[in-house]
Symmetry: C2
Subunit: 335 residues, 2 copies
Amino acid sequence: MSDKNMQVLFANRPKGWVQESDFKIVESEIPQPKEGQVLVKNSYLSLDPYMRGRMSAGKSYAAPMEIGDVMVGGTVGVVVESKNEQFKPGDVVLGYFGWQKYGLSNGKGLLKVPADKIPLSAFLGVLGMPGITAWIGLNMIGEPKPGETVVVSAASGAVGSVVGQLAKAKGCRAVGIAGGKAKCDYVVNELGFDACVDYKAGNLDQDLKQAAPNGIDIDFENVGGEILDTVLTQLNAYARIPLCGFVSQYNVTEPYQLRNFGAFLASRVKLQGFIVGEHMNLWPQAQQELTQLYTSGKLKYRESVAEGLENAPKAFIGMLKGENFGKQLVKIADR
Amino acid sequence: MSDKNMQVLFANRPKGWVQESDFKIVESEIPQPKEGQVLVKNSYLSLDPYMRGRMSAGKSYAAPMEIGDVMVGGTVGVVVESKNEQFKPGDVVLGYFGWQKYGLSNGKGLLKVPADKIPLSAFLGVLGMPGITAWIGLNMIGEPKPGETVVVSAASGAVGSVVGQLAKAKGCRAVGIAGGKAKCDYVVNELGFDACVDYKAGNLDQDLKQAAPNGIDIDFENVGGEILDTVLTQLNAYARIPLCGFVSQYNVTEPYQLRNFGAFLASRVKLQGFIVGEHMNLWPQAQQELTQLYTSGKLKYRESVAEGLENAPKAFIGMLKGENFGKQLVKIADR
């Protein structure tokens, strides 16, 4: 192989918005597997909002990255060389190799996936971490019952789009919140939500009341900030809030100050923050149900694919600004 | 009987702090029981922070009171006349007659209590609604495990004092937050908490860190506002917050704006608002355990007793300002 490895390193801790200069792209030799190791050539890299959190020094659920680290991230790729009997060349594997073309693994945390009839990228989206995040948050914390109203912010995104479709499958009214008419149209017309509110239209409170006329029973929260503050005023008694992300807050230097916290008592709300990696016991069930829905054509999704690892920083910044449409991926190499 | 009935009516909806002029005291004839009814002479009235919420017009878990209503409230008293075969004169009963000397009931919601060896007032405190609130919030939502740290605000109050003692009984570190040295001394020396932080000393963050050096696993929240905001920064992963009250917020016209909401995700916190009356299925178990602890001398409490129903408004206002010390009661009549 005359190919080289390419890596995107974490070069500078951002304050506020991430800049391209916060990353550094380097080339190096392709590593060689030792006994027990596997060399994987990554096909796709998943870009996700949580990565912004890892770039901050503050307390969060995961330790912050250190300057010089390879940027973290989920990947799907193909085994090119194996000195581990559990894997053979050609196997398609889900891993967490980060922003790099080639990765070495001892096999731990590497998951073979059945990629015969399913496009590789789906394992980073509806059938992967984002889809499972939606499944776990909605079912484990939301506990949806038929006839209830489920609101989800960032509704056209990788997690939100699955939340709404799962809610519909449970017999709920699914209401999305998204930025712009194009995303809202997609959420309703293609994903099959009952309604979608464009928060950029500047009339969130009224529009949400119209979209959720019976009040809100579950708020799958991806965004935080002012959108959450508005949702809080429209909760029904015993509402549940799976708290999945705060994408509105990752790039601000001063945190949003929540006004309507009183709703948690007034409506006896249950809220729970969660991260998908801490509920591995639920993954098999989630993956099975999602694959079933997907195979029967009931789980739709859209992808934004950036071509080439060198374009990952730009794509990541765009995603944080909401410029992507659907699951954001980087195509690193052909299968 | 030449006695008269006395009632305290809700006369004016307060904005901000409650005034004595928000109440009106009236006298009337003692009502006569009809077939199936019971006439009760109340001995004690319980004063509780939730009553402030009922005086507001805003959305809350219970409908607001209307001007002219008898102020709501839990009472313990003695049956003086009965045309209901389930009760006889002399029975001691817990009821919800509100701020009045005499009350009529059809028996529904009236509970006979074993007052032979237990002072009547205890049924409004450690063995009544406040004690049961502590038990349900701590056990149902907090789920304390031995060795964990439990923080409770308003720690010398009717609910908080029981929370800490139950936490100790479960093998937890119990840390109170209260206003002033006298209350803190009481919480530690008499109630047996491990530590108590005086929030009025102006050094809450540091003092709380010292009192809870291993971080906070359960925050039994009675107060809200800035105290909660500080507690949020010291939560451990998977912390639980039984949300019981917002006593800091009842008398403000502008709600406190919470800065540290991000902690709910960063620490994967579970928070649940609850009101005790909606978990009646748990009352028997709670009452049994509380009575057991009480009888064995392990459940200490203190009362502030205002003498005479005409002094209830003043005592209520004082309680909202934190002037009481322990469970606030009004003695209406001798048994």
